[in-house]
Subunit: 340 residues, 2 copies
């Protein structure tokens, strides 16, 4: 995994899955029956345990820490709740310039100490040949939650603030970018060997808006990270942003399934590594279809150094665990066999 | 508008807006206060009236008939309801091969006579210099509603059927493609001078799945349309599909805002017309920003014949009407002034 992130030759393609510890797994559901999602995130021993269990079950090549994008917003002044029905809810969303002013700089990481401790305990429990991946939400995606107050379909509140009050927008994203940088560096200091920045919702923007309103803040994050630690820049929902994601930064560019991996890698440039890009819906089929699709993606990667196999987005909760296991086995076996 | 659809030179760029008659408009809300959405769709006089009112208010260059994507599903055996809270709901969705078998061929268009009558009454009430646009949902988008039973975020039921039971999938999409073709031809016979096929949700697929599971059915529709009537092929959510949309058919390719218009037109090929592509969120700003963005899109079109100005998706209900009016005025004025 570390070699692939640096585009060094590997004996086979490394593989892990976004949301590899999650509701599709019985062991995870058993833990969640005893605790809320936010309580679980705030319990480092349990967070490490659910991830280590998933790594053991799937035999993947990396452990991303078990956490969420949104806890970083709490010490910045947001009132965050995970509701069973609606998912994440922020009770005091940013809608005006005055709201943006009230968002606090993250000067003290102590309130996020539980995440840092999760990194440590995950690192301690993990086979030493496997890396721990730290992560954070990207400034745009965090801002979209902070402004919408939760999930959204069209991100109208976020876009309205962005377009009507670029000063407030820039102030908010600047605070988020600085917070995320410090947060990822703290994860690195605690033992994370790779970090991933999730810009999960930025695909709702076109390239010109991305360049103007988002790219400078994403770049702030990548430029501020500890040198020598590979960073993965992941976005979803809009293949037309790929050249700009590269421009913003990241040693590895995450690719979703809306574009062929070969086309995406050519667009990103072969001087960067890529991660992806199976449609997670394929995990709802069966072993034969999964194997066929894995081979197809490996063929597109063409044995070129610098490919990390992953889904194009997180594992769906409807996924049979045996299919996730079959995926990992197929990647290991077919990539070791080499491409024809 | 007709000249632009045929890539003939125009004195200025024609403009209309998807969902130009809708909840953002007080006149429309007044009508809806007295009737449900489905009752309105089934009342040709009222459907024609709401569209003619919108055309008059906005001074756009075309009237799309007021209707919805889903009524075509009723005579095919689906139990359709528009709920105020959840939007469209289909109470008997297709989940199995047996369900797909039960879907009826649309052999008789009489049950959709109210749509055909809406075309006639819209044509009758409209200034004769303006065209009436007929429309239908594309096979994939109709199938996604028919399978999911309503809106969806990840289209897992649809993808599962598509990948696990390609026979049932193909049977369902074949029936939908034949139904849509007959339905659009009936609209043309009743006076529609242009037709638009809406593949609103197909952006959840990657190019290989589109080519294999969707393209043949979209092509069936375009190949079956009355010759000589320009057809607009609109999809949203994935710029990587543009070359395949072109391949499937359509004289005009609809472009959403996730890609620059100049890049999109180059990808589609300058031997096709294009329609688009302002982010509808821009209509939540103000006249100055709208004007700036219109100029930018006109500059990208570069005065080349074959550009129809539109949004990249429908007007949001939060849009101030005066901003929609300002958009239409800006397109007319700035395109008549010529590009620098």
């Amino acid at each position: 995994m570390m070699r692939a992130a640096r585009r060094e030759p590997c004996e086979r393609t490394p593989v892990w899955l976004m949301r590899q510890a999650g509701r599709y797994m019985a062991e995870y559901r058993a833990v969640r029956a005893r605790t809320t999602f936010l309580q679980l995130c705030k319990n480092p021993a349990l967070s490490a345990e659910v991830m280590l269990t998933a790594v053991d079950r799937l035999k993947v090549d990396a452990a991303i820490i078990f956490s969420d994008l949104l806890p970083i917003l709490e010490p910045m002044g947001f009132d965050l709740e995970f509701s069973a029905a609606e998912g994440p809810v922020i009770h005091n969303p940013v809608r005006t310039s005055a709201d943006a002013d009230r968002v606090r700089e993250l000067e003290d990481l102590d309130p996020l100490g539980y995440v840092i401790e999760t990194v440590r305990q995950t690192r301690r429990g993990l086979d030493e040949s496997l890396p721990v991946i730290g992560f954070a939400g990207a400034p745009f995606t965090l801002a979209s939650y902070a402004i919408e107050g939760g999930g959204s379909r069209s991100y109208l509140h976020a876009k309205r603030l962005m377009l009507r009050d670029p000063g407030a927008w820039s102030s908010l994203l600047g605070k988020l970018a600085r917070a995320v940088t410090a947060y990822l560096n703290a994860q690195i200091d605690a033992g994370a060997q790779i970090v991933q920045l999730f810009d999960s919702w930025v695909g709702c923007l076109g390239p010109d808006d991305y360049r103007r309103y988002v790219l400078p803040h994403a770049r702030t994050v990548f430029q501020g990270l500890r040198p020598g630690v590979p960073a993965i820049h992941f976005a979803t929902g809009n293949p037309a942003l790929l050249p700009l994601l590269r421009e913003a930064g990241g040693d590895v560019i995450g690719i979703d399934w809306r574009v062929r991996l070969d086309d995406a890698w050519r667009t990103v440039g072969h001087d960067r590594a890529v991660q992806g890009n199976l449609d997670p819906a394929v995990l709802l089929t069966g072993a034969a279809e999964i194997r066929r699709r894995v081979q197809d993606i490996l063929d597109q990667a063409g044995g070129r150094p610098g490919h990390i196999f992953n889904l194009g987005h997180g594992v769906h909760k409807e996924t049979p665990v045996e299919n996730a296991v079959a995926l990992v086995e197929a990647v290991k076996e077919l990539s070791a066999a080499g491409t024809p």
